[in-house]
């Protein structure tokens, strides 16, 4: 029994040992990764390095061997990575203060250089955060606020991109894209914009209301004139008869309205023309 136990135990130890050894000597590099293999701290080789000249070509991903326990691996991302620096304060040339968000897209193109200078991919962001504010200030402070707020900030984005790219190349990083996302005025600057907008909205509301009133008045006058023209056309056939006709109509409308029945008392004197025949004369 003990011998069987011992045999099994020895087998398990051997298995574990082989697994450990294998885990330490085989490096599986995925498609999305680049790996720098270092021996005693010095870069030895790069697995699955990104080649800018052939971005779509077959990669170097796969399993490679290294010396167990001695060679170390520094893992780096192969694809594009993003970094956003929010709310950098920038003084525009016209004295406005703006807050600028910058979105940087980059790629590690020289893993060895990155590994030996920064040691890890996470530290690229720190570098960008350290370098970018001064570049922004340098480029954007030459431009007025209105220009900075425009897309591309009047070419500033392009210039910041190339300046940042030049600096990050020393770490083996290529800046692929840089754009300004949010460009806003800080609270104090925003107040001015809001005040101006408020004035604008108020004026616009007044203009709209006023235009409505003017137009309505115009319509009233025009309607009266048109109505008069229509009547004039008919009346011109016989002005004298028109005079008589409209007087009669007016009496009828004012005194003969059934809706106001009995509102007036009409006194007809015996000598009136209306009763001329009634009196039997």
């Amino acid at each position: 029994m003990t011998s069987a136990m011992r045999r099994t135990r020895a087998g398990l130890f051997a298995l574990t040992g082989i697994a450990l050894l294998a885990a330490s000597s085989v490096v599986v590099v995925g498609e999305g990764d680049q790996a720098v293999i270092t021996r005693f701290g010095a870069p030895l080789s790069v697995v699955n390095r990104f080649r800018p000249e052939t971005p779509g070509a077959a990669s170097g991903a796969g399993a490679v061997l290294k010396l167990p326990f001695i060679d170390r691996v520094i893992w780096l991302t192969r694809g594009l990575q993003g970094y956003s620096l929010g709310g950098s304060k920038v003084n525009a040339s016209d004295g406005q203060v703006l807050l600028v968000d910058t979105d940087v897209t980059y790629r590690i193109i020289d893993p060895v250089r990155l590994a030996s200078s920064l040691g890890s991919g996470q530290r690229v962001g720190e570098q960008i955060a350290a370098i970018l504010p001064s570049l922004l200030e340098e480029q954007l402070s030459q431009r007025p606020g209105a220009v900075i707020a425009q897309p591309g900030s009047g070419g500033a984005a392009r210039q910041v991109l190339s300046a940042l790219d030049a600096k990050l190349r020393t770490y083996g990083v290529q800046v692929v894209d840089l754009r300004f996302g949010r460009v806003v005025w800080p609270e104090s600057g925003q107040k001015l914009v809001f005040e101006r907008m408020q004035d604008r909205f108020t004026r616009e509301a007044w203009d709209i209301g006023n235009a409505g009133v003017l137009e309505a008045r115009q319509t009233f006058y025009q309607a009266d004139a048109d109505a008069a023209a229509i009547l004039q056309k008919s009346a011109s056939q016989d002005p004298e008869f028109y005079d008589y006709f409209s007087a009669i109509r007016s009496y009828e409308a004012n005194f003969g309205d059934p809706a106001r029945k009995g509102a007036a008392t009409i006194v007809i004197p015996p000598g009136s023309d209306y009763l001329k025949h009634f009196n039997g004369k």
Partner: protein, 356 residues
């Protein structure tokens, strides 16, 4: 012997292996040759026995206890162990090499990290992990990103220097899973960033009214979408943008009240115009009616002037007298009631009484 058994030369293991000091025949042949070559063992030779002794004791006492309670115990374990091991290996192989992909799923197969193929829905077999790996992803359904998150306010400067609050949605699809997975590890975040920046760029080229009123919103959406797509294509991101929809475009929240006044003014102006139009229609109708009445009367007047005049007058008088109190023969002062002395003003009498 005990030390010689350790294939890794780890002195810590000595104690455990040393359990069975007596039966040596089970030891593999290879380690037997090792002791002299093992470099770690040299300095340990004098110190190990003392240290390992105590551990040996523990093991011995344990081993003695277990063997005393029942000899079949370890034998049973030994018998089950292969089954247990075999079972777990089988389960592992089954779990990592048989894959069923749903209708809207696609997956990348990598062999030792290297891309092998992209597979669609259905049953697929791969080598077990760690030799082959399957990365599955839903590609059939559209992905959505709303910018900004939820109800946050995103103020964007317009071409005329105003600030407009714009909220929009990007809908997109994974067009190339391989590119999407490997070229753009944080795909969704990248799409969001890009969309936000491009939307701002688009808004900055239009006036406040253009963006708000929706007059040029379709153009803005189209434009932004094209620009995002162009950048993503250049990055080989494997993303196809399906649509960009502006969900909200309006004045900043704190100006909403003022802005409301514009809508109110617009409403009032519309009402003023409607009233005026109504007045005009009525005036026209009235004028036309009067004119046509006159025209008719004039037509008969032309034929029979005397009769027409008289008829107009009598009709008028009839209506006037019918609807009012009539006092006949008075001196001009209003009377309380008409004295019905005569039966001659019969025409006026009933009307007058009806009026009272």
């Amino acid at each position: 012997m005990a030390k010689g058994e350790s294939p890794w030369g780890d002195p810590g293991k000595d104690g455990e292996v040393g359990v069975g000091t007596a039966p040596v025949e089970a030891d593999p042949a290879a380690p037997a040759a090792e002791p002299p070559r093992n470099p770690w063992l040299v300095p340990d030779t004098d110190s190990t026995p003392r240290r390992s002794a105590s551990i040996d004791d523990i093991f011995r006492s344990r081993g003695g206890g277990s063997s005393g309670s029942g000899r079949s115990g370890p034998t049973l374990n030994m018998r089950w162990l292969p089954w247990l091991l075999g079972g777990s290996v089988a389960a592992w192989i089954l779990a990592t090499s048989v894959h069923v992909l749903a209708q809207d799923e696609r997956a990348l197969v990598t062999t030792m990290g290297r891309y092998t193929e992209t597979v669609g829905p259905g049953l697929h077999f791969t080598l077990p992990w760690p030799f082959q790996t399957m990365l599955r992803q839903q590609t059939g359904s559209e992905l959505r990103a709303q910018i900004p998150d939820k109800d946050a306010e995103a103020l964007m400067p317009t071409a005329d220097g105003e600030l407009i609050d714009v909220s929009f949605q990007v809908r997109w699809r994974i067009a190339d899973l391989k590119q999407y997975t490997f070229n753009l590890p944080d795909g969704e975040a990248a799409v969001r960033r890009l969309a936000d920046a491009e939307m701002r760029a688009g808004v900055a080229e239009m006036s406040f009214d253009d963006v708000r009123s929706g007059k040029r919103q379709a153009e803005l959406q189209q434009h932004t979408m094209a620009r995002i797509q162009r950048v993503l294509d250049a990055w080989h991101a494997g993303v196809a943008v399906t649509a960009i929809e502006v969900l909200r475009a309006g004045p900043p929240a704190r100006l909403a009240d003022t802005y409301q006044k514009i809508a109110a003014a617009r409403e009032k102006a519309a009402k003023d115009r409607d009233n005026a139009a109504l007045y005009r229609d009525q005036a026209m109708q009235d004028a036309n009616g009067r004119a046509s009445d006159f025209d008719k009367a004039y037509a008969s007047y032309k034929i029979a002037p005397q009769v027409t005049r008289r008829k107009l007058y009598d009709d008028m008088m009839a209506r006037v007298l019918r609807n009012n109190t009539v006092v006949l023969g008075g001196t001009g002062a209003p009377a309380a009631a008409p004295p019905p002395t005569d039966d001659k003003p019969a025409a006026a009498q009933p009307a007058a009484q009806g009026g009272q």
